[in-house]
Symmetry: C2
């Protein structure tokens, strides 16, 4: 039963933040990857008590030198045999440069075997119009993009990288085209697109993806529309990225094994091709990227819905326990009311932590409901 559902053996280097409690960064990515059968090397760029959405945390960052040292440690013991790399939040420009060096070295090492290494880059810079990294991080990301195989910006990050203001589906298409052309990024998925559009009911979101053609770097763009859940969750981008790693490899592997047109005359099929780029005449809706994104969204949607279902109950329980144990004043004004507001923010943040460990089946066996359509 379970074992049959595993993806092909895949060794992944995952570089992102670690939080002791909760599920963001590597804490959510590593479990997502492992539960689908990946052997994950988890290089943690920070160790924080909890994610920054709580507005208070403790812990420390790992320096650029330490990141480089850890990678050297892997290398000297033949532990750098990665099939894929996933990079997420990296604190500061020097640390990001160190991570970029690692990715470039792994790319170079794989040059003689096209398709044997694939880098998924989540350019974590900001969201909803706000930059939450230092400004000098942006040019470092721009300099690294042309080494990445799949880039996963959110809407705001896509604007930053393409310099195209995204206001409608047409401009999102232009942003994709610019990113393919300017940086040569083979595959792009823009996550959490929220735009007015006839296809978009008010409470819908979409992801928009594209795999470029080899000739002319033309975008082949699709979108997947799905119902929004009215709640702010953290870690969704990190979970999305981790699942894309696995599902992309799985989709390319399946395509490969179907002996499709892609495989013929290329000696080894799609998996043996640089950046796993499908033939130029492959239709947008037949792209492995579209298959992968559909499956990932299905997992995401199930997980968010199940977490939201339990949120209220969890908040109530936490409220009761904290109130009793700590004797916190529940009503009041001034300092008391402020403290209560803070406490409720903390309890809600905890209740919104994604319940991955209780819903393994949603990670492993998602039911695809939302299909890709042409942009």
């Amino acid at each position: 039963m379970g074992e049959g559902s595993l993806v092909p053996e895949t060794r992944v280097l995952a570089v992102a933040s670690h939080v002791v409690s909760g599920y963001v960064g590597n804490k959510i990515a590593v479990f997502s990857l492992q539960s689908l059968g990946c052997d994950v090397a988890a290089l943690n760029t920070v160790q924080f008590s909890n994610h920054t959405g709580y507005r208070q945390w403790t812990g420390s960052r790992v320096s650029a030198q330490e990141i480089t040292d850890l990678y050297q440690g892997l290398k000297q013991s033949y532990l750098d045999d990665f099939d894929m790399m996933l990079s997420g939040y990296v604190p500061g420009a020097p640390a990001l440069e160190a991570v970029g060096q690692i990715a470039q070295e792994l790319k170079r090492k794989a040059e003689s075997k096209p398709g044997s290494f694939f880098w998924v880059l989540d350019p974590v810079m900001g969201d909803n119009g706000n930059l939450y990294v230092a400004p000098d991080v942006v040019p470092v990301y721009k300099s690294l993009l042309h080494h990445a195989d799949l880039v996963l910006p959110n809407q705001f990050e896509a604007e930053l990288l393409s310099d195209v203001p995204i206001t409608d589906m047409a401009s999102i298409g232009r942003a994709l085209q610019v990113m393919h052309e300017r940086y040569g990024i083979p595959h792009i998925v823009i996550t959490s697109v929220s735009l007015p559009h006839p296809d978009h009911p008010v409470s819908s979101l979409s992801v928009v993806g594209s795999s470029m053609t080899t000739a002319g770097r033309r975008a082949r763009a699709f979108k997947i529309v799905f119902p929004a859940i009215d709640c702010y969750f953290s870690g969704t981008g990190d979970m999305f990225a981790a699942l894309m790693v696995v599902r992309m490899r799985e989709a390319v592997h399946n395509n490969n094994n179907q002996g499709s047109r892609d495989g013929e005359g290329q000696g080894g099929g799609l998996m043996g091709r640089a950046s796993w780029l499908s033939d130029d005449d492959v239709d947008t809706l037949d792209l492995p990227l579209a298959r992968a994104a559909e499956k990932v969204l299905a997992s995401m949607h199930e997980m968010l819905a199940k977490t939201a279902e339990r949120m209220e109950e969890v908040v109530e329980k936490a409220r009761a326990e904290a109130g009793v144990e700590r004797g916190v004043v529940v009503d009041g004004e001034g300092a008391g009311a402020e403290a209560e507001k803070k406490r409720m923010h903390l309890l809600k943040s905890k209740a919104a932590e994604l319940r991955l460990v209780r819903h393994l089946d949603s990670l492993r066996f998602p039911k695809v409901e939302f299909r890709a359509t042409r942009l």
Copy 2:
């Protein structure tokens, strides 16, 4: 299917080492706990590139102050609501003292609700007659033992803690009795016992466990004999400890819900009792500890067998790849032979990494083959 098999909701604080690549310490414990449905707060005491069995590694330790700070970070955001704690390798006496403070604080906080917090302490000090921590760590462990609910020494650590030289099953029984009496440890499992005994075929190992009686702290000792696998694996103690956390809670929960004799007149059953200690007249072979250990050993045995099966293939593959890519001399003498010996040690270490992510079913649905018998 999957979701029905989950243990009751359990929030665990896991304190141990983190390795980027491979499976020891928190890297193996966190996944084991999560895959069985636990919400795990993972406080990493080191970040190393790989485990020390490779004989070379990079990375750094987390200081005692940082450990304390991370816990304070959890506390200030109401994230210290743990049902259980698992502590494994902690580097040095000051850091171990910091971890001990956390455990004692959590115990104190739970005093008014017996059974609401349970500490599983793996006193990582050494193995096979060798101490691999600083000597000043030993007295710190001894000072902490009387706060722990379940302690999991290996044979060597049991000797250190009890001052009883273990040479046969009779002396192991005495060591258990001493640890119950001297430190008041409610539950003990001694892992990887390797002793001459008529019940022990040459290639067998056993674990020996005991839950004490409340009156007189008498040992109720059992053993489980299982076939040894001729290979040196790392991380087995950490995996054993993590699975014991889950399976102990599950066994106590099941016992509780059966409305057994234990529950009657105690208001809330076994889970509502300090250290989940069964009534004094409960037979050794009916102890939840025995049920838990049987299930854990079943998972362990399946995982080790499956890892061993693939080891040779993995070594060959790694040997071929490394040889081709790095141009390493395979035959030779002097420095060349030394280098080759080192390389083979590294490749074998990698191949012996436990393949948890490929055998989730062995973690979740183990088939119990080896049963507890009276010591």
